[in-house]
Symmetry: C2
């Protein structure tokens, strides 16, 4: 199909009601009417690149579309905002045929429906490397950034950490057939942005982040931005039965996965009060950096995790 036919295919799959969208796919730009009384717009862009964020032998095209959308939506959830609508820019090499494009778009559409943010425009380009850039707008009354954590706050988490990394490890080591690994495979292939948790958190959280590059790295960023020390409780991280079972099935350390595995899109919030759907995983103290509070005492953790340009 030529470009116009491909855009028509995408527009057909993505057609549907879109609140506040006056003009969608097919013009130079989308035209939006901001919902009345909205305080703030939340705006993010994320890009998923073949060979970096996914391998085609580990995920279906539909998974690829789904994952790319959820990764971007998670950034909106992490600000305590409600996703509103999205644009997607695809770079398509010759290896992505029309059937693959349809599957990718269906995966994006499914994710957009789940998140509640329709795709209202985008861009198509050919290229040698396949990538999907997704930009989302969200709305909220008050945004929860990374920098507001205060000494004495609890650290609260919704969702899993380490499970998606366990799924990826199961795939790369060929141990994905173990029954206990199946939730881990699903976590990697079909992550979900925790939109409801983000909205629940927005009422009391002083700072928040989504875990895309690993808990240690992302909570380290929150602590750094807030000028505080974050303390993680390993027993709380190991209370995740699905993670422990999956890690055991493929023979890796669940705590290592929980601390350094990314792409689950858990939400971590710092705040003074418990949050519905969140469990306590640690505390905020005076100081700097990140420590693991063990029975033998505190262990300082390096703020490491996935870095695109580390050597």
């Amino acid at each position: 199909m030529d470009e116009a036919a491909r855009i028509a295919l995408i527009a057909r799959i993505l057609a549907g009601p879109a609140r506040g969208v006056e003009l969608g796919i097919g013009d130079d730009a989308a035209v939006l009417l901001a919902p009345p009384g909205v305080g703030r717009l939340i705006w993010t862009i994320d890009e998923q690149v073949e060979g970096v964020h996914f391998r085609r032998d580990f995920a279906s095209w539909r998974d690829v579309g789904w994952r790319s959308f959820q990764a971007a939506a998670s950034d909106v959830a992490a600000m305590g905002a409600r996703p509103w609508c999205a644009l997607c820019a695809l770079v398509l090499p010759d290896t992505v045929d029309d059937a693959a494009l349809e599957e990718i778009t269906l995966g994006q559409r499914d994710a957009a429906l789940g998140v509640g943010a329709p795709i209202v425009g985008g861009n198509l380009s050919r290229g040698t490397g396949f990538s999907i850039a997704t930009t989302l707008l969200g709305v909220c009354e008050r945004a929860v950034g990374r920098s507001g954590a205060k000494v004495g706050d609890g650290l609260w988490m919704a969702g899993h950490v380490g499970l998606a990394a366990c799924g990826l490890r199961a795939l790369t080591t060929g141990r994905g057939a173990a029954a206990a690994a199946l939730p881990a495979l699903a976590a990697w292939r079909r992550p979900e942005a925790l939109v409801s948790s983000g909205l629940a958190m927005a009422e009391s959280a002083r700072a928040a982040i989504d875990v895309s590059d690993g808990l240690a790295r992302d909570v380290g960023h929150l602590a750094q931005a807030s000028g505080v020390q974050a303390v993680l409780d390993p027993s709380a991280l190991l209370a995740d039965a699905a993670l422990v079972a999956a890690a055991r099935a493929i023979g890796v350390d669940p705590l290592d996965l929980a601390l350094y595995g990314g792409e689950d899109y858990a939400l971590v919030a710092a705040g003074p009060a418990p949050i519905a759907g969140f469990r306590r995983i640690g505390d905020i103290r005076e100081g700097a950096g990140l420590v693991l509070a063990t029975e033998e005492g505190d262990i300082p953790l390096l703020v490491r995790g996935f870095d695109h340009f580390s050597r």
Copy 2:
């Protein structure tokens, strides 16, 4: 530099005042306060891919950053809107070192300053192919789409068409040293989104488009979306002295360049009245498609131009 250092470099270059931006680079998403009384948000994404939209031996890294930003801003201008702010997602292969990243960011910054839309966030990823995705928000009272042209309207154009394609041809044929080709080289390397023209047009234009894929293709899209026929006057297109001189210098047909060359980011509007800064290049008639009105009669034109997926 690792990812954090690269983000810090970018943030330092892009720092500056940004109206309505509560939280910029460095969090999960940008936080925006829509300017009071704004009717509509205009939202676009564009992506420039090495080997497709530019060749590194034809443009400096700073040109590459500049061009990518202007291409996206042009879509906002084509809706008759004022660019507000932007996010940029870069995929960086190993060939893009820190010095190159700095130059790219400076090019983006210069363009953002010129357009009046600061870059307030983005994303970095490694990858095998270099690309820049730019998403822009703009604001306007009334958006000018592609579909409103009416029979009897004039077709009005601001900016050049064909000049950028002439510059690219000069580079690919090694004839870029001719003095008459210099404006063409500049047009390809340093295009400018016609923001002021877009705002001027918004008062009376019924439909508009920016010329990114060639006049024939883009005006064809406008005619199709509006359900009318567009008539182009070749003498008006050939009244561009810079184009004619540059085309002569490299031995190509200026009319062919004007009809099928893209990336100048001229604005074409359909409307009942002359627009300041625009010249008449044709008319809107009953019918369909695109014709060239010559002394020997009307010549139907194929709505062709740059297509990412045509064979």
